[in-house]
């Protein structure tokens, strides 16, 4: 790729970003005067950080003059956010942040962009509904959700009770969500249920019991996980279901067949009623532990550990643009999240439908704004919003002769 074309492409993007920031699109975090800000420019190089902005106007002036590719702020509040070292900043507390990216989804590489965005959204919804609002009891008002602008979502928790949690304690929350360090004794154990005496010898019969589905915390959660697993299992074709059952410890082909028969006989409701009241008698006692492991696997959530435990990390500013996609970092309520489609809803209104010419070295198939685009290698005329996405991704350059079309923003 020619240096000149690259230059022209960057100029185009910079001026588009500058135009965008003229519309006052930013959603500043509360207490933003106490936050550190950071930027990455299109020219590359280091993160410009250790910057503080006492007023909204100064921040806008800075952003408009630099037209940065990425804008971040600290999750933390500082006495002096602009101080050059962490020690001098004086940490006062930090929002609790969760970051869920497509690469936490098993098999994401094979999903394609729209597929992975959908899958990650499902995980985010579960993270919020089951864990953050569910078990941890945060109110929706204390929770800000944002599309990250690329492949995932961020959740900012602004409940003052969590501000002063330190790294170790934040990691405990992550462990809670990801099912790490669970004491398996708590969620299932063999217990005696009957004594039998044969010819003077007493034998204690044991069975595997799991907690009630309504028990608080991971006890109930694991049971619900087992129940959900069995439910999906009963919807599979017989062969696959039996194959899955055979993965359990102590379950051979005959046993699997028998369990499958029992599950069918009990039906979904019958199975659920038993499992959710702690009964697993239709499984051999030896398989209990592996069933519990299945349940945990099914019930656990996902989130990126380092992002949550690092109390000094920078996070993308809501309403800013992501320089690797051109999408905006869209703030969302839990309700808005359900219908949110990044490939349409994160495209700034400012980007035109008018076509511009770009050069794409490789063939590209992609969806955007409800349309599928099929681009051959070479020169292509595409709507500006797609051109911006491709140029930001580094998959396209502005075709020569186009550079003059963009009006240079203030520098």
């Amino acid at each position: 790729m020619g240096e000149e074309k690259r230059e022209a492409t960057l100029r185009y993007l910079r001026s588009k970003f500058a135009q965008y920031y003229q519309t006052r699109p930013l959603h500043l975090p509360p207490r933003f005067g106490r936050r550190e800000f950071g930027f990455i420019l299109f020219e590359g190089g280091f993160v410009l950080r250790h910057l503080g902005f006492p007023k909204e106007a100064t921040l806008y002036r800075y952003i408009r003059s630099k037209s940065p590719a990425h804008v971040y702020h600290s999750a933390a509040y500082y006495e002096t956010p602009g101080a050059p070292t962490m020690a001098e900043k004086g940490w006062m507390g930090a929002d609790l942040i969760f970051d869920l990216d497509a690469d936490h989804i098993p098999g994401w590489q094979k999903m394609g962009y729209p597929g992975m965005l959908e899958a990650v959204k499902g995980q985010v919804i579960r993270l919020i509904d089951d864990f953050l609002v569910g078990d941890l009891g945060f109110r929706e008002d204390d929770l800000r959700i944002a599309f990250s602008g690329a492949r995932g979502y961020h959740i900012h928790i602004r409940d003052p009770r969590v501000f002063t949690l330190e790294s170790h304690e934040r990691r405990e929350i992550v462990d809670y969500i990801t099912g790490t360090g669970l004491d398996l004794q708590l969620v299932g154990r063999r217990e005696p249920f009957e004594e039998r005496t044969f010819g003077g010898q007493t034998r204690t019969l044991k069975r595997f019991r799991i907690p009630m589905a309504s028990d608080p915390g991971w006890r109930g959660r694991t049971t619900r996980g087992i129940s959900q697993w069995l439910e999906t299992l009963s919807e599979l074709p017989e062969e696959q279901a039996i194959e899955a059952l055979r993965q359990l410890e102590g379950v051979g082909p005959k046993r699997a067949q028998k369990i499958y028969g029992t599950l069918q006989r009990l039906g979904t409701d019958g199975t659920r009623a038993r499992v959710e009241t702690g009964h697993l008698e239709f499984f051999p006692p030896g398989s209990g532990a592996s069933l519990v492991a299945q349940g945990v696997e099914y019930a656990k959530g996902a989130t990126d550990e380092p992002v949550s435990s690092d109390t000094k990390r920078l996070i993308r500013l809501m309403g800013s643009l992501h320089g690797k996609t051109g999408f905006s970092v869209v703030p969302l309520t839990r309700e808005e999240l359900d219908a949110f489609d990044p490939l349409t809803d994160a495209v700034p209104a400012l980007y035109e439908h008018e076509k511009i010419r770009v050069e794409t070295p490789q063939a590209i198939v992609t969806d955007m704004m409800g349309e599928t685009f099929n681009l051959e290698p070479g020169q292509n005329s595409v709507p500006e919003y797609l051109a911006i996405f491709l140029m930001c991704r580094g998959m396209a350059t502005l075709a020569s002769g186009m550079a003059g079309d963009a009006t240079e923003g203030p520098t």
Binding site: D135, L136, G137, E172, D175, Y176, G181, L182, G217
Partner: protein, 346 residues
């Protein structure tokens, strides 16, 4: 009542309302008892950690107890030693728990509110998980992990006993964070004798633990990583899980048995949690029969517990080889002391 819980805001308000400065109290003959008591408290917290809990019946006793608390804190602050602060915080929090354990549920709940905890009671005690996390910061057993708690709507359900332990943890954190207080020359002078005594006691204690010989084992031959881990444990600061594992397995590998290792750790204030008996049993093979080998240098580095190699480190890849090499070298060093590897660098 206030005399039993002198850390409550009400108690300090009461003292403030008396209008006596601490300097005056220290000078005053009438407060000699409180002063003795304060002294007693600090020394006991350093030695056994088991503070006496006498019944307070006469009002004079109550008054003394009430004043003993701030005086003890001043004394600890005059010494200004981190280890003493932690011992003192631990002992005071432990005493508070023992006292609270005799109170009614209502009182316990009210006290936890006065301490700023977001707690409720309906059958069991319930504590907001953020307070639970902060208060159990120093408790590292899996029974204190958040994931193993019954959490519902943001609150952790706790039995009365566990709730008391959590309140204790909260108090311990608070005492540690508050101390040392600022002290002025008048106070320093008033406690001059005690401060000297405490410094001596602290020094004795350290040299006892860091003495050349641990039986047949020489701590001076430890590689920097293990030396540092041991020092950290002995200073009763938190050591990461991999760090504890590395240290215990290392000590086991160089010939210390379960009992000896246990004894070393038992001298740490919050031994209960910092390295559990179970962990030592496990690592030394008491439970499963598997004896673990200490991790090699590259692993130590990736855990971030290699404090940066010294010169001898550059010739080895395993902390155990360091120890063996150095033991051999110091054996010959008796004849030629100049051969001793330069330890002064660290």
């Amino acid at each position: 009542m206030l005399a039993m819980y002198p850390f409550l805001a009400e108690a300090s308000r009461y003292i403030r309302d008396q209008g006596l400065s601490l300097e005056e109290v220290l000078d005053h003959r009438a407060f000699q008892g409180a002063r003795n008591w304060a002294r007693e408290r600090v020394f006991t917290s350093l030695e056994t950690g088991d503070l006496p809990n006498p019944p307070l019946s006469r009002s004079a006793e109550c008054l003394e107890a009430l004043y003993a608390y701030p005086l003890a804190r001043i004394l600890v602050s005059c010494v200004g030693d981190g280890f003493l602060v932690r011992r003192f915080a631990l002992a005071e929090a432990d005493l508070a728990r023992r006292r609270l354990s005799r109170e009614s549920d209502d009182f316990l709940l009210a006290a936890s509110h006065a301490l700023g905890l977001d707690a409720l009671r309906d059958g069991a005690f319930r504590l907001h998980f953020s307070d639970f996390l902060r208060a159990t910061r120093q408790l590292r057993g899996k029974e204190w992990k958040l994931i193993n708690q019954p959490v519902r709507e943001g609150f952790v359900l706790l039995s009365r006993d566990r709730f008391l332990r959590v309140v204790e943890g909260h108090l311990r954190n608070r005492f540690e964070a508050e101390l040392p207080l600022e002290v002025n020359p008048t106070l320093l002078r008033a406690f001059e004798e005690e401060v000297i005594e405490l410094h001596t006691a602290l020094r004795d204690r350290r040299s006892r633990l860091q003495g050349e010989d641990l039986g047949t084992i020489r701590v001076t031959n430890f590689p920097p990583c293990m030396e540092k881990l041991l020092a950290t444990v002995l200073a009763s600061e938190n050591v990461s899980h991999p760090g504890r594992f590395a240290l215990v397995s290392f000590m086991n590998n160089i010939g210390l048995g379960f009992d000896e290792i246990y004894q070393i750790f038992a001298s740490v204030p919050d031994f209960r949690e910092s390295v559990t008996r179970y962990q030592i049993e496990h690592i030394t093979g008491q439970i499963s029969g598997t004896v673990y080998t200490a991790p090699e240098c590259s692993t130590m580095k990736s855990y971030g517990i290699c404090p940066g190699p010294d010169r001898l480190c550059e010739t080895i890849t395993h902390p155990l080889s360091y120890y063996r090499k150095k033991t051999r070298m110091s054996g010959t060093a008796k004849k030629a002391p100049a051969d001793r590897p330069a330890k002064a660098a660290s």
